[in-house]
Amino acid sequence: GYIVVTERRLGTTATTDMARRSMKERYLIAYNVIQACGWAYVLVHATQHAWEFHQQPTRARGGAQLQSSPYDIVRDFVVTFQVASFAEVAHSMLGITRSPVGAALMQWCGRTHVLMCALDAVGALHGTVAATTLVIAWALTEVVRYPSYALGLYSQCPLWLNWLRYTIFIPLYPLGAGAEMKLMYDARAFARKANMYSFSMPNAFNFAFDYVTFLNGLLIVYPFLFYSLYSYMFTQRKKKLGHVTSVKKQQ
């Protein structure tokens, strides 16, 4: 930052009276609260079933499922709330929020692709440890992120929640990214057999798409994308949980 640092408040308006807020603020608070509730449901139900489900002997799981996998139980919620989070891309496009459009779009596309194409479309992967890990890691992250946005808009994000937000990513990002890569890796065999999402030439637009090649390309690129996102979060962490506040404020 610069020498003259204008102290950034985590909240926006002084009033906590909802009636006196702008429509935009009311809408954003509502959006964040709804998302928080959705992901809270996912977290509770997925974790409830995760332990029992993955304790089942493999023999029983190979044939008829003794019970639905954690992913199957929360699937409708995860799909709904993840796809609906496109709203965040729309918000930045319309200027309602200040996040960069490109980053938001890439995040949404990455997550939604893994969810819908690599996981949801491939039934055999629903019961895997990777699927359960994915769902729980995402839910844990969102259940901290959305309330911190909502509270930040409403009044002030509490310091402990802010700390959580900039700390739990440390284990959760690698877990989530690892689960995503494992799912894409395993999905390839099924995609090859069923020829998923692929088409070949000749055709009028001289274009061909092989989903397995696409997945291989993604798997190569993922570690680099993950690294830049992860290191970005660390610099954000240093900024937000800053330990040089006294020096800055004096100047």
Binding site: Y2, V4, M201, N203, A204, F205, N206, F207, Q251
Partner: protein, 336 residues
């Protein structure tokens, strides 16, 4: 730094100020980084009428790692200028009100690479990447990828596409060295990586599909019309670039309204002809990746065109003796 301009004051008249400038017309500036850290503990001593470019030269001598194009200086942040005022090379330090004892803020722009070098590599890549798919089609499509009849002769459309694509990038490289005059000498090295990935990838991918053994050409009339239109647009684009290169005389940095030829009707006639040039190519070759490449380029040029149009409108409002800048189109007649 002409030594004859300086007057040396004998030591006994310095009144014990051994750490300030010895020469009467010198000034000493403190240099800090944006986070407040001191960059030069001993400060930097300059003649009081020094230009910013002199500052950068002397700074480079003191810190060899930071060559002048890598340095960026601003004044200290104030309420009116929360990020400080950027110091421009051609101006004198005192034009910014800087006097002895003042502080300036230094930022390292990172490793820089010259614009010409970037343009050369980013255009050489697609030029070369396109060719193997045309000339070594049997090896690539046949031996490596296992397609049937990979060795059959190229179609007329594929041959013309190869010539057009190659000619386009040869033109761009020649323009880089013989036509364009750049207002910035360098750009950050990250841009080199990013730009090269963009151009090289698209060049290779477009070529892969157009030279594919299962490529489906369009009707011959459409193909010839597309290439003809593309050729006309390429030549117009060259003329636009020559007009732009001649806008500023003798290294002046002033903005001049581009005029003549298509610039009378379109603010960014150069981008306009470039986009239509690719449109002609795509009408002739009809590939999804070709159209995608055109749209990506158009999206970027749209952003630049809007910014340029706004800037020219602000600089030439028609008052204070300045001409009024007005054009019927910004980027793509007859649409926008």
């Amino acid at each position: 730094c002409d030594p004859r301009k300086f007057v040396r004051i004998p030591a006994k008249h310095t009144h014990g100020r051994t750490h300030t400038a010895v020469f009467a017309r010198d000034m000493k500036l403190k240099v800090i980084s944006r986070s407040g850290r001191t960059v030069l503990p001993e400060g930097i001593v300059l003649p009081s009428d020094a230009k910013v470019s002199d500052l950068k030269k002397i700074f480079h001598e003191m810190k060899r790692a930071y060559y002048p194009t890598r340095q960026r200086f601003t004044t200290v942040a104030t309420k009116d200028a929360p990020r400080g005022v950027a110091l421009e090379d051609a101006k004198a330090l005192r034009d910014y009100g800087l006097v002895d004892g003042d502080t300036i803020v230094f930022k390292d722009l990172g490793p820089q690479v010259s614009y010409k070098a970037v343009f050369f590599f980013e255009y050489l890549g697609p030029l070369l990447a396109y060719l193997p798919f045309y000339f070594a089609r049997e090896t690539i499509y046949g031996k490596m990828l296992g397609f049937k009849d990979a060795g059959k002769a190229p179609l007329e459309a594929q041959t013309l596409a190869m010539y057009f694509h190659t000619a386009h990038y040869v033109k761009r490289i020649l323009e880089t060295f013989f036509v364009h005059s750049f207002s910035h000498a360098t750009m950050p090295i990250f841009n080199l990586m990013r730009n090269c990935s963009y151009y090289w990838t698209f060049g290779a991918v477009m070529s892969y599909f157009i030279n594919h053994p299962a490529y489906t050409p369009v009707g011959r009339t459409q193909m010839l019309a597309g290439f003809a239109f593309s050729a006309v647009m390429q030549l117009s684009n060259l003329r636009c670039h020559i007009i732009l290169a001649n806008l500023r005389k003798d290294g002046s940095k002033a903005y001049v309204i581009p005029s003549g030829f298509l610039f009378n009707y379109v603010t960014c006639a150069n981008y306009c002809t470039e986009i239509y040039q690719w449109l002609g190519f795509n009408i002739a070759t009809q590939s999804a990746m070709g159209y995608t490449f055109m749209c990506c380029g158009a999206a970027q040029m749209l952003q630049w065109a809007i910014a340029k149009h706004k800037r020219l409108r602000k600089l030439f409002p028609g008052t204070d003796g300045k001409p009024k800048f007005r054009r019927p189109f910004i980027l793509l007649p007859p649409f926008f």
